[in-house]
Structure formats: C-alpha cells, structure tokens
Amino acid sequence: MMTMTGAELIVRLLEQQGIETIVGIPGGAILPLYDALSQSKRIRHVLARHEQGAGFMAQGMARVTGKPAVCFASSGPGATNLVTAIADARLDSIPLVAITGQVPLAMIGTDAFQEVDIYGMTIPITKHNFLVRSAAELLEVIPQAFRIAMSGRPGPVLVDVPKDVQNQLVTFERLPVPAVPDPLPPLDEPAIAAAARLIDEAERPVLYLGGGVIHADAAPLAVTLAEQTAMPTTMTLMALGAMPVDHPLSLGMLGMHGARYTNFVLQEADLLVCVGARFDDRAIGKASQFCPEAKVIHIDIDRAELGKIRRPDVAIHGDVKAVLQALLPRVRAQLRKRWLSHVAGLKSRFPLVLEGREDPRSHYGLVQAVAKALDDEAVVVTDVGQHQMWVAQAYPLRRPRQWLTSGGLGTMGFGLPAAIGAALAEPQRTVVCFTGDGSLKMNIQEMATLAEEGGNVKIVLMNNQSLGLVYQQQNLFYGKRVIASNYRRPTDFVKIAEGFGLEALDLDRSEHPEADLAAILRRPGPALIHCSIERERFVYPMVPPGAANTEMIEG
C-alpha cells in the first residue's frame, strides 16, 4: 500500500505520464502542489510571468511535439488568466492539461478570497473539465485528463483541485497505468470505397488539408495521395507545412488571404477532398458560394464536423491517417494533364505577388530573408495580425509542426510564449517568432522568462506603430475612419528587450541588414530583431469578411 498527499499523487502521476516540463505560476491555493513538485527529480518547472504566458508556453510544447503539455495556475485570477490560452487550444485542437488550485472544498461557493468557478467558466472552452472532490479521485481523474486531451480530436482539459484535496492523504495499492489514447474508430470501408470512386471519376479534384492532417501525423500520406491521383492541394492556415509549399501540386493557403489562383482553382473544382479541415469561414468565405460545382468528400475524426457547414457527398468518420492509408491502394494513379495544366494557367495569370521581396526591411522581404538564413529544421511561430498573414504567404514552410500559429481564436500575444514553449520542448531547434508591435505588447513580460531560460528564440518584430489589420479594415471597409488603431507614441522595443536581458538588433539602423540578420539568427540564444515597416502596406489579396472567396480585392 502507498500513502501520500493528493499533491504528491498528482506529481507522481504526471511523472509517469512522461511530463518533463511544467510551466506555471504559484499562488496560495496551489502551494501544496508546488511543494510536492519541489521534490520531483524528473519534472522541471518553468516560471512564467503571466498565467496566459504559461498556457501558451504549454501550447508551444504541445504543438511542436504533438504530445499533451501541462500548465499550472493558482485559483481566482491565476485561473482566469489561463482562460484565453485554453480557449485558443480548444479552437486549434491542441492537447493541453491545465491544473488549477482552488479554495478548500468547504469554502467553495462562499466568495472566498481568490475564488472563481473556473470549472463552470471553462465548460465551453475545454474538451472536458473536472472539479476534484477527494484525493482518491485523482487516481482516475489525472489519467482521464490525459486520455481525453490526446484521444480523437485533441483538446484542452482543465483539472481544478481544491487546496484541501491537495493536502488530503490517500492510500492505494498501486498507481494507475499511464493514459494512452483511445483506440481509433473502425474503418468505414463502404465510405472509403465510395470516396475512391469519386476521386477516380473526378476531372477537376482538389485536396483540401486542415490541421487534422498535422495532428494525425498524416502529412506524408496526404502528399502521397495528392501525387498518386494528381490532385492539386490547398492547405488551411493550420495545415501549412503539411505539403512543402514548393511542391508542384501545392496551391498554398486558401481563403481570405490566399493567392487569387488558389481560390479560382477551388471555384472550378468538381470534387473537394477535405481532410481534417472544418470549412472555417476565414478559409471558405461565403459558405454557399464555396466550391459551388464540387462534390465533397469529408474525412474527420470528429463526427460533429461532418456536415456542420457543408453537407458532404461522402462522409468518413475516422482517423485521417488510417483512412488515407486505406484509401491509397484503392485510388487509381492518374496524371490529369488537362486539369493540372489549367491550374498552372490560373497560377501564372493570378499568382501570389510578394511585393518588395528583395528588400529585407520590407514585410515580405524580411520574411524571406529570415527563411534564407535558416533551414527547414527551424520552427516558425507567429503572433496574430498582418505579419501572421505575410509569413503564412511568404515563408517557405516544408515540414509538419514547423509552423505554430493561433488559427481559430486568433489570439494576439500567442507568439512569444508559444515560441518559448517550442524552444523548451525542442532545444536543438532555432525558433523564430514573427510578431507585430500590437501582439508583442500583449505578452511582452515573457521576455523575462525567455532571458531566464535562455531558449533559442529569435523574436522578429515588424513594427508599423499600429494594430495593422484593424487599421487595414478601417481603411478598406469603414470609410477610412481610423480610430483606436494607431499608437500615438513609439515604443523603444530594443531598449525593452535589452532591459529584460535579451540581445537586440535594430535593422532600422543596420548598414548590412541581411548580413546582420543572418548573423544574429545563427548565434544561439534569445534575441529581438526589430524592423520598422510601412503602415500603408496592407495584406493582399483580401476577401472582404462575408464575401465569397472569388471576390478578392487587390492593393
């Protein structure tokens, strides 16, 4: 028999789940757990400067490895500060286990100091959540939390543990076995056969890959399917890297800021093969006018996605990797010369134009200069806004899990902590974090965490003194009535970075920007690279919100 406190039990269960790094911030209601963690030889704790930063660091670890990552926060404000990072993980299907301290059981519901109903608050934004009422329940709840986070469509799970439950003694015979993901759903053979027939018969098919392809480690199979059946392939923001962008079949990203030819190709498709994507409005524009001539095959691990937006002709509920494996031997090898040459024609008539790409101090040029200095082993993280779209358009992404971005929730402030998390999980890689001056300020305190941990994170700041995407929308769609989107006072980001203990390079003052940039990117350790960019450069093409994807506007 073993006897230990609830807190010690949590630490033991996390250790045997293989957790090596936990990010968090302590506080009164979670101190017993931190006390137990202090005795762990296997888990290292990284102290964030804000709980939202802790949540995004854990996300960075999970996104880059595909395995569940853990963050800790105390009750009340500690817990509410996690909320945005949890919601972000939900929308992008990221396996995250958030453990929060709670006031003692007897005080729940009394408006005790630092009490909030984080269980109630996180119901809509978690895959599942638990309020633990006894230390013995932890034996079941902690493994369940991991099982749920990583099974099927991954997602965040919150476990709220009252302080007295952390201190309570529990006696048990043996530790439960570590959680493993649920078995995959059975293969729907008739649906797979029907899908193969549609692909064989189609004349103008397009493969449409979503983040599910990355989560299921199915990118190589998706590329094989595209090659075998000669299907032009487009990717959502979340799927970038699934097919190398310079692959001859790649159409790049679709949707609001996709290339014009990509959206035109989709318009003409007679078959859309959707793999692990969810017909998000930023990807498909006006749903009723998306791929109007196409039959749809939809493959997804989440049955609720099948038919949610677009009714598929063939719906396949299943793990996309298993389904693609079963589909491959059933589809005929094809060349589709006519369709591919038509696609090539559209591409040359309506290409993605990367204006100013030769100038490393312009938006596209900076993205490409960074890419030139790095190889495909680097991890590319972004914040949210114009810079995110420019990087999505212009960075040559070639590898699954090379690209970490906040897609569904679009959270400014995601970039820096997620990049730190990626560097914590995979310290051998260079992690570059593209950000804007609006986004960086939303979690800028994590520069202190970065300096302390010394991760190999390069923050590339595109500074246009504004909330650029808001400024852009006000200019394009609100009669140029600009309000609350320009910063009136400049911020000295170089000084700030140096103040936190980071190396800093100001490209504005550099005489050899390309060489200086390459040099700092190749030097290990954290750094900020600052570059002012023009405020009047907008992200194009752009589908106006609510319009069809073919109604793109150009600059």
Partner: protein, 104 residues
C-alpha cells in the same frame, strides 16, 4: 427540472422529437448539457433530469424540434465526455405528455 433553454423556433413548423440521454451523475453534468444548447444556438423546448436508481448515472429527457440541425445537435451531445448514450423517440413519448398538466 424543466425549463426553456433557448428561444423557440419562430416558425415552429417542424416536428418535435424526444431525446433520451444517459449521462454520468455528477454535479457538473447539467451545466455541460444545458450550456451546449445555448452555446451552439440549438432550440430546446424542455429538459427533464433525474438520477437513475444506481446513483452513478442520470437520465436526461429533452424535447427538441427536428429541424435540419438535429443531426448536428445529437453529434455535439455525443461529443460530451459525460454523455454515454443518446436515443431518439417520437414527440408522443409519454414522459413529457404526463408532465403537461404541470405547465397549464
């Protein structure tokens, strides 16, 4: 417990159906289920919930309109970890019929 959780359909020309949910019995289950309707903008006319004799599970009865979103509603319900099973019945199921006199 029976309550109106969402606005009724403006043109309620749709048939009603009764859904029977088998769920784990713990204090958060009703929040999970009720929250789902409001959040996903599903129309639900009534809810009834009681624990089963073993105390480990509860049964929730729902009456909803069988509009084109019913399938999606059922799938969203099935996605909840605490929902173990969802069964469909016709609108004439006696569970709500017998309750009607309490809502006159």
């Amino acid at each position: 417990m029976i309550e109106q959780v969402a606005e009724p359909l403006p043109a309620s020309g749709f048939e009603k159906v009764v859904l029977e949910l088998e769920v784990n019995n713990h204090p958060g289950v009703m929040s999970h289920v009720c929250g789902l309707f409001a959040r996903r903008a599903f129309n639900v006319e009534g809810i009834l919930c009681m624990p089963l004799p073993d105390g480990r599970r509860s049964r929730i009865w729902l009456t909803v309109f069988a509009d084109q979103r019913l399938e999606q509603l059922v799938r969203q319900l099935e996605r909840l970890v605490d929902v173990l099973e969802v069964r469909r019945h016709g609108a004439d199921h006696e569970v709500f019929v017998q309750l009607e006199r309490f809502f006159q």
